[in-house]
C-alpha cells in the first residue's frame, strides 16, 4: 500500500502519481487502415450489423425517448457482456478481465497480470474457477493478455477493431469492483466517453479497485477499452483503448514483455532463486547435497541425493554450467529438471522464486 497511485487494481508495491495529464497524442485515423484487416482474419471476427444508436450523435439526450434508447441499447447487450466479464484472482489481490475468444483469450491490464507466464485464476460470473496463465503485456500503456488453460467454449465479446468510438459516445463499464462477490455479481456503470488521448480513453463511468482490467463497452456491446486507473475526481476514470491491444496483438500472443514500466516491471535476470547445493558426478549430472528450507526446490519435492541430469533440456556436467543457465533466468521463470532418483528418471517442473 505504499504506492501513491489510485490503481484500479489491488495492492501495488511501486509508487506512481495519480494519472498525470498525458497531454500527448490523439492518434486515431492511421491505425484503422493498417491493422483492421489482418486482425479480422486471425480471430474469426464476425461483424454484427447493429446500428449505432442515434443518441450518440446528439450533444445530449433531450427527452424521454432519447433516454429510453440508451437504456434499451444497454439492457439488450448487457447479458452477453456480463457473461464474458471475469474476475482475475492472483492470490494477493484481484482484478477483472474480459474474454474475447471462444477458446478463452482474456484481455486485462498489465498491472493486473504483472508479468508473463504467471499462474492466475479466472472466476466466471457464476463463481466457476478456471486455471489461467498470463501471456504478453505492454508495460507502458497497461495492456495485457491472459489465456484460460481449461477447455471452452467460453462466452466472449466482440472487439471494436475499427475504432468507431467517438468523443461523447455513451459507454458502460463492467468489473468486479472491490473483488468477486457472487451475491452482487459484476457491477455495471453507465457514462460517456469524455476524453480521448493517444493511449487513453477517459469516461465518467466510475471505477474502483478490483475493476482494473475490466471491460468498457459501447452501446452495441463491443469492447472498446480496458480499465486502468482513476483520478481523485469521480469523472476521471481511465481505460486503455483497443487500439493498444490491436497494435501489440502478435507480440502479446507470443508472450512478449513489451515496453518499459510503469505498469509492470521486467523480470531481472539472475534474481531467480532455486535453493539447491550440488556437486558434479564423474559420470555426468549434478548430485543434490542440500535443499534449502522453504525453497522452490523443496516445494517442488527435490530431495538430497537426487541427481539432476538435465535443466531445461541441457545436459548438466558442471556446477558452473547450471549457474550460468540460472544467471540468464529471472524470478518466476519456469524450470524443467530431469532427475535421477533411486535409479529412475523423472522430470520435475517448478518456478524460480525471488532471490
Amino acid at each position: 500500500m505504499e504506492g501513491g497511485v489510485d490503481w484500479c487494481g489491488f495492492v501495488r508495491r511501486r509508487g506512481l502519481q495519480r494519472e498525470q495529464d498525458p497531454a500527448r497524442v490523439t492518434l486515431l485515423i492511421p491505425m484503422k487502415l493498417t491493422f483492421a484487416l489482418p486482425m479480422v482474419l486471425l480471430f474469426g471476427w464476425i461483424s454484427t450489423a447493429s446500428a449505432r444508436p442515434y443518441v450518440n450523435d446528439k450533444k445530449a439526450p433531450e427527452d424521454r425517448k432519447d433516454l429510453e434508447v440508451i437504456q434499451k441499447s444497454l439492457t439488450s447487450v448487457l447479458p452477453k457482456a456480463r457473461a464474458a466479464t471475469v474476475c482475475i484472482d492472483l492470490g494477493e489481490g484481484s482484478g477483472s478481465g474480459v474474454i474475447v475468444s471462444e477458446d478463452g483469450l482474456v484481455l486485462t491490464a498489465a498491472h493486473v497480470s504483472t508479468g508473463v507466464g504467471k499462474e492466475l485464476t479466472v472466476i466466471m460470473e457464476d463463481g466457476k474457477k478456471l486455471k489461467a496463465e498470463s501471456l504478453g503485456l505492454v508495460a507502458d500503456t497497461d495492456a495485457a493478455m491472459v489465456k484460460i488453460l481449461e477447455k471452452g467454449p467460453f462466452p466472449f465479446v466482440e472487439i471494436d477493431r475499427a475504432e468507431s468510438t467517438k468523443l461523447g459516445d455513451w459507454v458502460f463499464s463492467l468489473g468486479h469492483s472491490g473483488g468477486f462477490d457472487k451475491e452482487r455479481g459484476s457491477v455495471v456503470r453507465l457514462g460517456r466517453l469524455v476524453r480521448i488521448a493517444n493511449a487513453t480513453f477517459q469516461s465518467d463511468c466510475t471505477l474502483i479497485g478490483g475493476d482494473s482490467g475490466g471491460p468498457l463497452f459501447d452501446l452495441e456491446g463491443r469492447l472498446i477499452g480496458i480499465h486502468s486507473r482513476v483520478g481523485a475526481q469521480l469523472q476521471v476514470n481511465m481505460h486503455v483503448p483497443m487500439k493498444v491491444y490491436v497494435e501489440n496483438w502478435d507480440g502479446m500472443m507470443k508472450s512478449e514483455f513489451i515496453g518499459e514500466g510503469p505498469f509492470a516491471q521486467k523480470p531481472v535476470k539472475g534474481n531467480g532463486f532455486l535453493g539447491l547445493a550440488t556437486e558434479a558426478r564423474d559420470e555426468g549430472g549434478l548430485k543434490v547435497t542440500k535443499v534449502g528450507r522453504e525453497s522452490p526446490a523443496e516445494e517442488a519435492g527435490i530431495k538430497e541425493g537426487d541427481v539432476i541430469l538435465k535443466m531445461n533440456d541441457v545436459d548438466l556436467k558442471t556446477r558452473e554450467q547450471m549457474q550460468d543457465l540460472l544467471k540468464e533466468m529471472a524470478a518466476g521463470d519456469k524450470l524443467a529438471l530431469e532427475l535421477l532418483r533411486d535409479g529412475k528418471k523423472e522430470t520435475i517442473n517448478l518456478k524460480l522464486g525471488e532471490r
Binding site: 491505425m31 461523447g168 455479481g185 455495471v188 456503470r189 460517456r192 476524453r195 474502483i208 496483438w249
Partner: protein, 334 residues
C-alpha cells in the same frame, strides 16, 4: 503483424505528438446540466416529494415525503450529531421537526413536520427492475430548487451483512481448563452489562464454554442487537449477565481501505441492511443520501440509504420502504 508495421505506428505516434487530445465539455458529461436537463419531469418529483434535512442552515442530507401530513423518512444514523434539526420541502422551511421513531435494522428515522397537503412519493409497482434501468436521485440543492443526478441500477438486489459481524466485546485467554476475561472492550455490550477482567466464563446461552472456539460457535450467526446470557464465575461466585451484541464496527474503528481513500465522502453506516438495490449515480457525497430513488415515470423505487464508495450506492427497495413507513407511522400514533 510484422515489425515494419509496428515501427510505422511508432513513427506516426511521434509525428503527431503535438496534436491535442479531444475532451467533452463538462456540460455534456453524465452529471452535466446539458444531460441532466432531460430528466426535468423526474426533477419536479424531487422538488415536491423529497425533503432537505438541515442542521441549522447546513444541508446534511435528504428525506422522502411519505404522507400529506408531513411524515418524512430519512437516514437515522446521520441525525445523531444534529443540533438544530430543520426540514425544507419544495420552497417551505419547517423549523419544528419531531423525530417520531427510529428503525435500527434499516437505519431509518421517521420525522414529522407541521404541514398539510404535502405530495408524498408514489411507489413504483415493483423494485425488480432490470440492471441498466435509469434512476434519478437528489443532487445538490439551493434553498428553493432541488437538483438531480442520474444513473442506472448497477447490480443484483441483495442483503448486506454487517461489516465485521457482531461481537460481544471480550478478549479471552485460556486458563487451565477455563476461559478468563483478559480485557473488556470499551463501549461494548460486555462492558455495559458489567463483565470484568478476571471473570471466568462458564456458559453462553446455556452452552458450556471452555475454549475460544466454543465461544465463537455460540455467537456464530448472531446479529448485532441480540442479547446473550453469559454466566461467569467471579470470586468463586456464579453471576449471570445479559450482554447485548454490537456490530464490530461500532467498537473498533473500521479500517480505511485504499478503495475508501479514493471514494471521497462515504456513509458512516454502509452495511447491515436486510435488502438493498444498488445504483451507480455519482452522488459524490454522503450528504446526497436519504432521498427517494425515482424511475423515469417519477415513481419511487426506494430510498437511498448509503453511499458505499466511488461507484456503489445502496437503496432500500420500495416494497420494504412502504412497509417501514406504514409501520413507523402506526407505531408513532400509539
Amino acid at each position: 503483424m510484422n515489425a515494419k508495421l509496428i515501427l510505422t505506428s511508432i513513427l506516426l505516434g511521434s509525428a503527431l505528438n503535438t496534436a491535442a487530445f479531444q475532451s467533452l465539455e463538462s456540460n455534456y458529461r453524465t452529471t452535466g446540466n446539458g444531460v441532466v436537463a432531460a430528466f426535468e419531469p423526474q426533477r419536479q418529483v424531487l422538488q415536491t416529494s423529497s425533503a432537505v434535512i438541515l442542521d441549522g442552515r447546513r444541508e446534511i442530507q435528504y428525506g422522502v415525503v411519505v404522507s400529506p401530513e408531513g411524515h418524512i423518512l430519512t437516514k437515522a444514523s446521520e441525525l445523531k450529531e444534529v443540533k438544530k434539526l430543520g426540514v425544507t420541502v419544495d420552497g417551505t422551511q419547517y423549523k419544528e421537526v419531531e423525530i417520531l421513531g427510529t428503525d435500527e435494522d434499516w437505519d431509518v428515522a421517521l420525522l414529522k413536520v407541521p404541514a398539510a397537503g404535502l405530495i408524498p412519493v408514489v411507489y413504483a409497482p415493483t423494485s425488480a427492475v432490470e440492471q441498466g434501468t435509469w434512476v434519478v436521485a437528489n443532487g445538490a440543492t439551493t434553498r428553493t430548487k432541488r437538483r438531480l443526478l442520474a444513473g442506472i441500477i448497477s447490480a443484483k438486489p441483495r442483503e448486506i451483512p454487517i461489516a465485521g459481524g457482531a461481537a460481544i466485546g471480550l478478549q479471552l485467554e485460556t486458563k487451565g481448563k477455563q476461559l478468563e476475561i483478559k480485557e473488556v472492550v470499551e463501549k461494548s455490550g460486555a462492558e455495559e452489562a458489567g463483565l470484568k477482567k478476571g471473570d471466568l466464563v462458564i456458559s453462553v446461552d446455556g452452552k458450556a464454554i471452555s475454549k475460544i472456539e466454543e465461544m465463537a460457535e455460540a455467537l456464530k450467526g448472531k446479529k448485532p442487537g441480540v442479547i446473550v446470557k453469559v454466566i461467569v464465575s467471579r470470586a468463586k461466585k456464579e453471576m449471570a449477565f445479559d450482554v447485548k451484541l454490537m456490530a464490530r464496527s461500532q467498537m473498533v474503528e473500521e479500517e480505511v481501505t485504499r478503495n475508501d481513500q479514493m471514494s471521497g465522502e462515504y456513509s458512516a453506516r454502509r452495511s447491515g441492511f436486510p435488502r438493498v438495490l444498488q445504483h451507480d449515480i455519482m452522488l459524490g457525497s454522503r450528504r446526497n443520501i436519504g432521498g427517494p430513488l425515482l424511475d423515469l415515470d417519477g415513481r419511487c423505487l426506494g430510498m437511498n440509504i448509503a453511499r458505499v464508495n466511488r461507484c456503489e450506492n445502496f437503496t432500500i427497495p420500495c416494497e420494504e420502504l412502504k412497509e417501514i413507513a406504514a409501520r413507523m407511522i402506526k407505531e408513532a400514533a400509539k
